[in-house]
């Protein structure tokens, strides 16, 4: 006799335990109100959990206040300036000099952040998330987790929670031995709010942050030099794209030094002198400012991480696929955990962790190969999945397609003909294993391929997809066709 038990639909159980000590027991406390934390708080609340979000600074975190958002505002300005520079090409006559006011440019970018930050505040309120401003740390772990919150006025409050989500993000790595003791040496934050446009700027590191600022300041008229320790700029990107990017940026006036080991940054009255070594030869670059953009490390100090032996690695909290740390009921998401350090990864993990805490059973795994990465320089760079080199290292037999924007109708009309779309397929299975794009608006184009990858389409579905004409997205189609020697327009 086979028995099968019918399960009934149940609402998530919200425990309200009324007692002397337990009145403040939360289902979830989330530390950090960035794109990981606030999204997680909203989702948890939607699922009927009792949620408290603790943020020390501004809601929206680095992304919204000191990262993704304000830099996109700045880069829109430099793109605008590029277009202004081409006014004759577009048939305009403008007499007189075109000038700009850096203060207004910065204000415009700060306004965008403010608007979105208050939007986050509204969303949290609408979703009945309790928000506490203050610095949170773990004060004890017993049956429940106790959190101490130090508020701005110095008062302390203690809360107990069944689950804790650490979403404190990351902070810029500093160069060993080189402290940011002078306002000549910037982190990304200072580079976002310049008081004046530096005549010259040296950027240490050519990751997404370094390249975005290089592009912005170069377009605005600063003399920009980029120093990179690796063989290629943007070392995480496909080598072919890196090389193409380097040649385009070089043409636009940015100077690059690769394989360069920074030695010292010496400060003079008006300048900073960056000394670096290439093949045992010392080089010197003098510039008004230096931007250090050599990556980030987890923001974990004073959280109680060491005290309660939460496992970390290279300054980041170690989690499993379910976002669990080594301590029961303590989860971590976003930049405070392992790479890629991207806002959209944090948000996605925020949703997943909320659903896990609410008891959802489905498969939650977030596959890293479906997370796109974007650099909003001019031209933009976007990628998903494995690079050609990574794929070859895995011994995958490849089909590679490439299509230049120069052969795309829409690109000709807008005048943005630089760049290519490169698609990489597994020859045996037709899996889209990587896509690497450089060109105008490719950070929008990449999302079509993210959908394709997430749905596990093969080259056949992509080839059968009808792309609208004339659009930049047609380059995606042609690139796929080209991988199988079927491209039409090349």
């Amino acid at each position: 006799m086979v028995k099968q038990i019918q399960r009934f639909h149940r609402e998530p159980i919200i425990n309200v335990i009324i007692g002397l000590k337990m009145t403040n027991l939360k289902d979830v406390i989330i530390i950090g109100g960035g794109p990981g934390g606030y999204v997680s708080a909203i989702r948890a609340s939607q699922l009927g959990l009792n949620v408290t979000l603790i943020e020390n600074k501004e809601l929206g975190g680095i992304c919204l206040n000191w990262g993704c958002i304000p830099t996109k505002s700045l880069l829109k300005v430099s793109e605008f300036k590029n277009n202004l520079d081409k006014f004759k090409e577009f048939g305009f006559n403008i007499s007189g000099e075109i000038t700009f006011d850096i203060e207004k440019i910065v204000k415009r970018s700060r306004d965008a952040s403010k608007q979105l930050s208050s939007g986050v505040k509204f969303l949290l309120k609408k979703n009945k998330v309790e928000v506490i401003k203050g610095f949170a740390s773990i004060s004890s772990i017993a049956e429940f987790i106790e959190i101490n919150i130090t508020k701005d006025n110095g008062n302390n409050e203690k809360l107990e929670t069944k689950n804790l989500v650490i979403a404190t993000g990351a902070i810029p790595k500093s160069l060993p031995g080189i402290e940011n003791e002078s306002d000549r040496i910037w982190t990304a934050k200072e580079a976002m709010i310049p008081k004046k446009l530096p005549k010259s700027l040296t950027i240490i590191g050519s990751g997404a942050i370094g390249i975005e600022f290089a592009s912005f300041y170069n377009d605005m008229g600063s003399k920009v030099t980029v120093i990179e320790a690796e063989k290629n700029i943007m070392p995480n990107e496909d080598e072919e794209i890196s090389e193409l990017a380097k040649s385009i940026f070089t043409k636009k006036g940015i100077k690059f030094f690769n394989n360069a080991q920074l030695q010292t940054i010496d400060l003079t009255k008006n300048n900073a002198i960056s000394k670096f070594k290439i093949d045992n030869k010392i080089h010197e670059i003098v510039s008004e400012n230096v931007l250090v953009a050599i990556g980030v490390k987890g923001n974990i100090s004073n959280l109680g991480i060491e005290k309660f032996s939460i496992k970390t690695e290279n300054g980041h909290i170690v989690t499993n696929k379910k976002m669990e740390t080594n301590i029961k009921n303590i989860y971590a998401i976003g930049d405070v955990t392992s790479p890629p350090w991207l806002a959209h990864k944090a948000s996605h993990e925020g949703v997943i962790v909320a659903e896990i805490i609410a008891g959802h059973q489905e498969n939650h795994e977030l596959k890293k190969e479906v997370i796109p990465g974007c650099t909003y320089s001019n031209p933009q760079i976007a990628s998903i999945g494995l690079t050609e080199k990574q794929a070859k290292q895995k011994d995958i037999k490849l089909k590679i397609g490439k299509f230049p924007f120069l052969a795309n109708g829409k690109s000709i009309t807008t005048g943005d003909t630089e760049g290519i779309v490169k698609t990489i397929f597994n020859k045996e299975t037709g899996e889209l294993i990587g896509a690497h794009l450089i060109g105008s608006d490719v950070t929008e184009l990449i999302n079509s391929l993210s959908v394709a990858k997430s749905l596990e389409t093969t080259e056949i579905e992509l080839m059968k997809t009808v792309f609208a004409h004339p659009t930049l997205s047609e380059t995606l189609h042609e690139s796929v066709l080209s991988a199988y020697d079927k491209a039409i327009h090349i």
Binding site: Q6, H9, T457
Partner: protein
């Protein structure tokens, strides 16, 4: 939320069942763990247990009702915190629920809505996924990539539960399956060498599983009947003597394939397959040929055999058979087919009854061609005879049709020149 008791899926292929007995009355109390009803399928009887406490509020399906679709709501349980309003509004939605065909659809619609809600809470997902797959007419949800990898590795995924959204089978599921198949095989071979047992267990290969599934389905669902006839192959042998010189080597089987296709053309009603609501008649004449391979058999297809010359068929069959033996057939070379020829003559088998290769309706079992004593005109003469046995699915092909087809086939074999017409 009102607790519904639904028709459960006892097996992945179960689509409906019989509600044989209610073990409690309407309005009686139910305690978690109580057996409240019995369900019967053709294979087993099972009990439904309550998992929550409450009162049996309403019964939708009376006991003794046959063919209750999986997922249909059987009854409602009122839990302590359910209000009358909630129950009433639920009942209104299901008001004309007396299990006519239309109502079954309604129920399924409501159920699928409920499923969406359940999706957001805690429920045994796997169970739901099985149900979902079935209710949509056996559509298998699988990503294009997963499907490609599965076909490439000859992995049977028809009963696999995917880990993707709504039970969709994704790449990882297939990869895991391939790895677990491999592990099992390697564990087996280890046991083979190290064990002193008087038997050994070999885990099913995916081909073995497919053969088992398809043939069980055929034997249990399709009522087979068998028609045998002896065919004189003297004429065919004369032709073969003439043409089989040098590289050409046309077999009797090549003629059989051609004759089968031609006979199907003469009796198009026999070229069909049975489906629950209709019989599908084919306009194609694709003949599957059973080929024995190392750990099973596979039926590659001579497509459009009717318009191919016998030599062409011969070359194609040889190519398909050699690909089959090397495991190099591509899915389109063995998927589909309208009719199957299975020939065991080379093993000296005189005649046998073959199991129909679903969803086809007929299969021809071919025995050994040999000289036999035949009485003709009151004299004993020697003829070269071959006994063939046609198996038919009686749901789609009746005795007379099968007999007519077989006679036409015999006609072609005994008078091969007719095949030229």
């Amino acid at each position: 939320m009102v607790a519904q008791i639904k028709m459960p899926a006892l097996s992945p292929t179960m689509t409906e069942g019989k509600l044989s007995k209610w073990l409690i009355q309407k309005s009686s109390k139910v305690v978690s763990g109580d057996v409240i009803a019995e369900i019967e399928t053709d294979k087993a009887t099972m009990e439904i247990e309550a998992v929550d406490d409450g009162v049996l509020y309403e019964i939708f399906v009376e006991e003794g009702t046959d063919n209750v679709a999986v997922g249909s709501t059987l009854a409602l349980i009122k839990e302590d915190n359910d209000t009358e309003d909630q129950l009433k509004s639920f009942l209104e939605k299901n008001n004309d629920n007396n299990l006519s065909e239309k109502d079954k659809k309604n129920i399924q619609e409501i159920n699928s809505k409920t499923d969406k809600e359940i999706h957001d809470t805690n429920v045994d997902k796997k169970f739901m996924n099985v149900k979902e797959n079935i209710s949509k007419d056996e559509r298998i949800k699988i990503s294009p990539l997963a499907k490609r990898i599965a076909l490439k590795n000859n992995v049977n995924f028809s009963s696999l539960l995917g880990t993707g959204p709504h039970g969709r089978i994704v790449k990882k599921d297939i990869e895991d399956l391939i790895i677990s198949n491999k592990n099992i095989t390697s564990i087996d071979s280890y046991h083979k060498s190290s064990s002193d047992k008087s038997y050994r267990d070999i885990t099913h290969s995916s081909m073995r599983k497919t053969i088992a599934e398809r043939l069980v389905k055929s034997v249990t669902e399709a009522p087979h009947f068998f028609l045998s006839v002896d065919c004189d192959i003297s004429e065919i042998n004369k032709i073969r003597e003439n043409v089989n010189k040098g590289d050409t080597n046309i077999s009797i089987n090549d003629f059989i394939i051609k004759a089968s296709a031609l006979a199907l053309k003469k009796f198009p009603k026999a070229n069909c397959s049975w489906n629950n609501d209709f019989i599908r008649y084919y306009n194609s004449y694709d003949i599957s040929v059973a080929v024995a391979v190392e750990d099973g058999l596979i039926t590659p297809i001579v497509k459009n055999a009717i318009s191919k010359g016998i030599e062409e068929i011969s070359i194609e069959v040889k190519l398909l058979a050699s690909k089959a033996k090397k495991g190099e057939l591509s899915p389109e070379e063995y998927s589909g087919g309208n009719f199957t020829v299975s020939n065991l003559g080379m093993y000296g088998i005189k005649n046998f009854n073959a199991i129909i290769n679903p969803p086809q309706s007929m299969i021809l079992a071919v025995g050994k061609a040999e000289p036999r004593a035949v009485v003709s005109n009151n004299e004993i003469t020697i003829s070269n005879l071959m006994t063939v046995t046609l198996s038919c699915d009686h749901r789609a092909v009746d005795g007379a049709l099968g007999a007519q087809w077989l006679n036409k086939f015999k006609d072609f074999i005994e008078n091969p020149s007719l095949m030229l017409l």
